[in-house]
């Protein structure tokens, strides 16, 4: 099991993966030595996941080669990957909740006397390993009774059982408390010391400093560079991660003499779907005539914030006032709130409905679209066609199923619907995700029009350049709180990048 450091445990050379119309991985070279913890840093969609899926046999690369310990390999399936000694802890755990910890570990392992399931030898080894690595796990506990942190340990134990030589950890600290994370880092370093090669995927800069020897930064499917995190400055790494050319020029900003508070949030706290705290005593005010951009790495409470404001998520404490009216249950008044939700397929649209039905998803029952109890489709069509023209939605007609439209035009349907009732506050969550440039441009124009007539826009996006180009004010969210509140003119990529990574000091440097 000895590894000489000359031969890399893993070498990925010129990996290219195309999806229709998009280059997910572009000539990526990536190399991990035995005994090394190699960090993989990058924004959502930078290509980390695609690269790791290729390594784990879930995708096949279009170009490029993979070498393990100097030998060229083809990894056609997760099984093949496992056989080659590759182990992965997925972000979503691959644990069967109804089985015990031990049963999860032996699932798929060859048995001594097949088909008999003899758990005793495995139990001994389970106990041995837990003692050796100082893990407090009971083999007979069903997984559903384990706290999330312990489930993480169990995943790692699975890898140890299989003696994986190349270990991929995909955002392993996302579910851990700080103290647990510390223990994880110790274990990870120990695994590396045993001669294993570790790929450690994360958004968090300080983790990289703590655990990784080298960090490779990915952006837009390319390798931006590989650096030593202990030497590199945080601002340097942040810039590598997010600092591409700002492709949108800054908008001209108008100032409004009359400033009313259109959105007032005080002491807002709520839980996420896993019943863990998502927002923590958050305060925010948005005034008329301003666009407030919400920056932050995905999963820091942005989604929950949007859902709380729209009334789709119950909050545990605090209050939200939109134009003076408190939010209590789903906000139904369209002149108060327009909301472009994060996922247009799941929430914003009924894909099997026609364009006109989707355009009037919230207002179909109102006069004049419904008269004497009947929907006036002619009225709706007339208005829909006007909206389609006004917002330049490209569709063969208003009675086409929305499903058939391109992503950009589907999004335009959502934005147009929310704008057409002239809301006081426009709340948008990732409104340009997955759109081509032309569509991005028109969505931006629509949002600007809200501000320019004196409305307020809360613009949530993980796309930093976009946030910077569009916003008058930028707030940065981190772990359910507002890390920083910057006037757009004062903001620069580096400072926001550091705030996104949880570095409060960046705030203090503001003059």
């Amino acid at each position: 099991m000895d590894h000489t450091s000359e031969v890399s445990a893993l070498k990925m050379v010129g990996i290219t993966k195309r999806f229709p119309g998009v280059l997910a991985n572009d000539q990526i070279n990536f190399e991990v030595k035995a005994g090394e913890v190699h960090g993989l840093l990058g924004e959502n969609g930078a290509g980390k996941t695609t690269l790791m899926k290729i390594l784990y046999g879930l995708h096949q690369p279009d170009e490029g080669e993979i070498h393990l310990n100097g030998e060229k390999v083809k990894i056609l399936s997760p099984r093949a990957a496992a056989d080659l000694g590759i182990g992965m802890v997925h972000q979503h755990f691959m644990l069967v909740e109804n089985l015990t910890a031990l049963e999860n570990v032996v699932l798929g392992l060859p048995a001594a006397h097949p088909p008999l399931l003899d758990l005793e030898p495995a139990r001994l080894r389970f106990k041995e390993l837990t003692r050796e690595y100082d893990l407090r796990l009971d083999p007979s506990t069903p997984v559903w009774q384990l706290p999330v942190g312990d489930q993480q340990w169990l995943e790692i134990l699975k890898l140890l059982f299989r003696d994986a030589r190349l270990v991929i950890l995909d955002e392993p600290t996302a579910v851990l408390a700080p103290k647990q994370a510390k223990q994880l880092f110790q274990t990870v370093r120990r695994l590396a010391a045993e001669g294993r090669a570790i790929v450690f995927i994360s958004h968090k800069l300080e983790e990289m400093k703590e655990v990784a020897e080298r960090v490779t930064v990915l952006r837009d499917g390319h390798v931006v560079g590989t650096v030593d995190p202990k030497v590199a400055k945080p601002s340097e790494l942040a810039q590598m991660m997010v600092g591409r050319d700002v492709f949108l020029s800054r908008r001209e900003r108008k100032t409004y003499p009359e400033k009313r508070d259109l959105l007032v949030i005080e002491g807002l706290s709520c839980l996420n779907d896993r019943k863990l705290p998502a927002l923590n005593n958050l305060n925010l005010t948005v005034k008329s005539g301003e666009i407030v951009g919400v920056a932050g790495v995905d999963g820091n409470g942005q989604r929950e914030l949007a859902e709380c404001i729209s009334g789709l998520r119950q909050f545990t404490s605090g209050s939200i006032l939109i134009n003076g009216i408190p939010v209590d249950g789903v906000v139904k008044d369209n002149s108060l709130l327009g909301y472009v939700p994060e996922d247009r397929h799941k929430t914003g649209l009924v894909l099997n409905f026609t364009v006109e039905e989707n355009l009037f998803l919230k207002t179909f029952a109102k006069f004049p679209y419904t008269k004497r109890g009947f929907i006036q489709w002619r009225e709706i069509r007339k208005k829909a066609e006007a909206i389609i023209r006004e917002f330049e939605i490209r569709t063969p007609g208003s009675s086409v199923t929305t499903y058939h439209l391109s992503g950009g035009n589907q999004q335009k349907v959502v934005v147009a619907r929310e704008l057409s009732s002239d809301p006081a506050l426009m709340l948008t969550s990732q409104p340009t995700r997955g759109l081509d440039l032309g569509a991005v441009e028109s969505v931006h124009k629509m949002l600007l029009s809200v501000r320019n007539r004196g409305g307020a826009v809360l613009f949530i996006s993980t796309e930093l350049p976009e946030v910077m180009a569009l916003s008058d004010r930028i707030i940065v969210m981190f772990k359910g709180q507002i890390m920083g509140d910057l006037v757009a003119e004062d903001a620069d990529v580096n400072r926001i990048g550091e705030l996104m990574l949880g570095h409060q000091e960046a705030m203090k440097t503001i003059p």
């Binding site: 409905f353 086409v400 081509d436």
Partner: protein, 373 residues
């Protein structure tokens, strides 16, 4: 990328593509079902063309045949509408069988009562009782589904057996609905004022079929032209979007399931007040399950349900003639029906998976293009 967008836009034929497919699918499935059944008929030593011709004459060949087709189509139409309507809100009501029993029992209870009202009112009350009985049977699954998140499927299925026994209790002495000293467990005859009027003298063609067609029209208008219908369809297509649009999804589920069950009740009412004219043990004999088939073949399209109910009614009406003409037993009809459903599933879901794959591709594309080329 913008090239992609253009191409996709041009390729779409507005509305037409979907319509052709949704019409062709059941027809193809029915054709396949007839073909496979023909093989079975040949295996039994008969000529399938002769058999099918006899069937056609038995269902459409004379006024009596046509009347018979309508009589048999009526419960399938009402029950099928119930299933299809529930489906529009994403609910699979497999409890129509039970709702038929309870609706029929309720209608019989009112129909047996000598009420001090004019005959037309008695009739209307009895019809209404059928609907209410069915709807009442939908209350339990509706509550459990909307407020406890428990699947309506198993609950409605289990309630079928409870309903059958409930009716059985009603027609056995000492129930007040049971006929005293009768040889069979049955109720006394329905009072003439509560019997469904006969449309053509000398046949058993009662107005049940008209009730069915009118109900279909109402449901169609409701779904397509009222805010209630829009809410229903939204709940079925995407409950999360419905909630986002401010719709009370739970309330919608309850109402739709009650109406769906009420339609099942009307189907039972028609059988009791129009055809059997008494309440019997086991009087439905699986009509509720056949209603599911009717709705499935129509892909839960309301107008399609009318057509498929008539189709199945015709099959049943013609089966007798076929049996006497070529000696093929009537259950071949059930086989044809089941095969048609099986083929619809195979064809329909092949399309569905293709569509889902396409959608996923698009989604995947959007996920990786977050950074934008």
């Amino acid at each position: 990328m913008s090239d992609n967008v253009k191409k996709r836009d041009i390729l779409v034929i507005p509305g037409l593509g979907g319509m052709v497919l949704s019409g062709a699918r059941p027809l193809l499935a029915i054709l396949l079902a007839f073909t496979v059944s023909a093989i079975m008929i040949i295996a039994q030593g008969a000529n399938p063309f002769e058999a099918y011709w006899a069937m056609l004459r038995g269902s459409f060949g004379s006024v009596a045949a046509l009347a018979n087709t309508c009589v048999r189509a009526a419960p399938l139409l009402l029950g099928g509408l119930g299933v299809a309507f529930g489906f529009k809100a994403g609910l699979l009501n497999v409890g129509v069988e039970g709702q038929i029993y309870v609706g029929g029992s309720a209608a019989a209870a009112v129909g047996l009562m000598p009420l001090p009202v004019p005959p037309w009112l008695h009739l209307i009350l009895a019809i209404f009782a059928g609907f209410l009985g069915g709807a009442a049977w939908g209350l339990i699954p509706a509550y459990l589904k909307a407020y406890r998140g428990i699947s309506e499927i198993v609950v409605t299925l289990m309630l079928n057996y409870v309903a059958i026994q409930f009716t059985s209790l009603l027609v056995h002495e000492p129930s007040p609905l049971a006929e005293q000293g009768a040889f069979f467990p049955q109720s006394p005859p329905i009072l003439p004022s509560a019997q469904l009027p006969i449309l053509i003298k000398g046949t058993s063609l009662h107005i049940g079929i008209i009730i069915g067609v009118v109900a279909a029209l109402i449901l169609y208008l409701l779904l397509q032209y009222t805010p209630f219908g829009m809410r229903t369809r939204m709940t079925g297509q995407n409950p999360e979007a419905a909630r986002y649009a401010g719709i009370n999804v739970r309330r919608q589920i309850v109402i739709v399931l009650l109406v769906s069950a009420g339609m099942g009740g009307l189907a039972g009412m028609g059988e009791v007040l129009g055809l059997k004219l008494r309440l019997y043990d086991y009087f439905s004999g699986g009509l509720g399950y056949d209603s599911i088939a009717v709705a499935l073949i129509a892909n839960s399209n309301i107008i399609g349900v009318v057509l498929s109910a008539f189709f199945f009614g015709a099959l049943r009406a013609g089966a007798g003639k076929m049996e006497t003409a070529v000696g093929i037993k009537t259950p071949i009809v059930q086989v044809i029906q089941a095969l048609a459903v099986l083929f619809v599933i195979m064809i329909g879901f092949a399309e569905y998976t293709r569509a889902a794959r396409k959608e996923k591709q698009q989604k995947q594309l959007e996920e990786v293009s977050v950074d934008g080329p």
